[in-house]
Symmetry: C2
Subunit: 204 residues, 2 copies
DNA sequence: CTGTTACGGTAACGCTTGTTACAGAACGAG
DNA sequence: CTCGTTCTGTAACAAGCGTTACCGTAACAG
């Protein structure tokens, strides 16, 4: 054996650089040289750490998935930690949905990255599979939270309600990446509130 | 003056080719050579008809906008032409939304094209402006239909409801491009039905 | 009929891309 | 210390990109 550096740290660093380039320059500007420059190294290191560009993209995609999942976990736990009041499950659902929306500029940047990966997945089967896995995990999370809010609903109704909420949030994210005026944070918040109230909340 | 061929037909033909390439090969495969080969000509003709690639993309984007607008017009008119029953405005809203969703394979292909343009708009201001214009027109259309269904709601409530429905449909479209199993036509239809019923329909 | 003008194709340019081969540097083992 | 292995940077490669200059060709004006 010889040198055994922390290659895992390199992978994380390069994935983060991939992410930043994707957020700033878009999908078209995402070249190996741009990533290398962003990470402060050359393309040689990049392709020594990852077999090829697709492997780099796939790793960055998984990193994004893990990040959003952790963020959702935190939001869900934080909402339930208030007090065991009457509307705790609804608060958790609302908290997770609002956290998934792009209310802050950081979240909007993440949405741009997410959208870039989605567009890339249209012609990359591996990225497509990763996207499907991540999105289905999100759908299952929302389905569970919906069931917690409305135990009276059947499984199909819960699944449909979850699909509505997930599609709504991801649609808001996608549209907000280009039109942050129409899809302002307030507008997004109001939309999520209305949808939650209509599907799960008070059956007025 | 000399030859005066139908250059407008060429523009339409090339835009259609752009569209097809974008649907089949994705944003990365959208090169001038691919478009030219698809249209049965060379790149010379392409760049004689359009100043550069961005102009070609912009024209194809406008063509997509006009197409979706015409389709929405047809759906709206068709739903209102049944009989002047009690729930005509709700039917029109539902028809427009379902037509905008990707229930058929042709509509899914259109959604892939739409998504490609959206991703391209992240780093192209002209495409971004075209997208914003088209989407706002759609939002206004839905807002008008919502107002027709629920004259009792205030302007803000109508706007929020429209934003929910638009984001829902576009989210369904985006997600269905990659996962046509979870976002099957039946699932999309059920989602739209639930959302319309919850926001506009019977206030149960 | 002839000249002018728009049109379409050919081929090349310069550039960037992903990828690979090679050379030097850094560290652990003997 | 010295060898050998692992790592990183350099440089080059072929391929593809958008774009441009150039050259026939066909059609209308006079």
């Amino acid at each position: 054996m010889a040198k055994r550096r922390e290659v895992e740290a390199q992978r994380a660093r390069l994935s983060a650089a991939t992410w930043e380039v994707l957020a700033e320059q878009g999908l078209q500007g995402l070249s190996l040289r741009a990533v290398a420059e962003r990470a402060g190294c050359t393309t040689g290191l990049v392709l020594h750490t990852f077999r090829d560009k697709r492997a780099l993209l796939a790793h960055a995609r998984e990193l994004l998935h893990e990040r959003t999942a952790a963020s959702a976990d935190a939001a869900e736990a934080g909402a339930g930690a208030g007090e065991p009041g009457e509307a705790a499950p609804e608060d958790a659902l609302r908290a997770v949905l609002l956290q998934a929306a792009s209310l802050t500029s950081a979240a909007r940047e993440e949405a741009r990255v997410w959208l870039g990966f989605l567009a890339a997945a249209l012609s990359d089967d591996e990225l497509a599979e990763l996207h499907v896995r991540g999105n289905r995990a999100f759908v299952e999370r929302i389905t569970r939270l919906v069931r917690g809010c409305r135990p009276d609903l059947g499984p199909e109704a819960c699944a449909t309600a979850a699909l509505v909420l997930v599609s709504l949030v991801e649609g808001l994210n996608s549209l907000a990446t280009v039109d942050d005026e129409t899809y302002s944070p307030e507008a997004q918040r109001a939309a999520v509130e209305v949808a939650v109230a209509g599907l799960v909340g008070r059956p007025a």
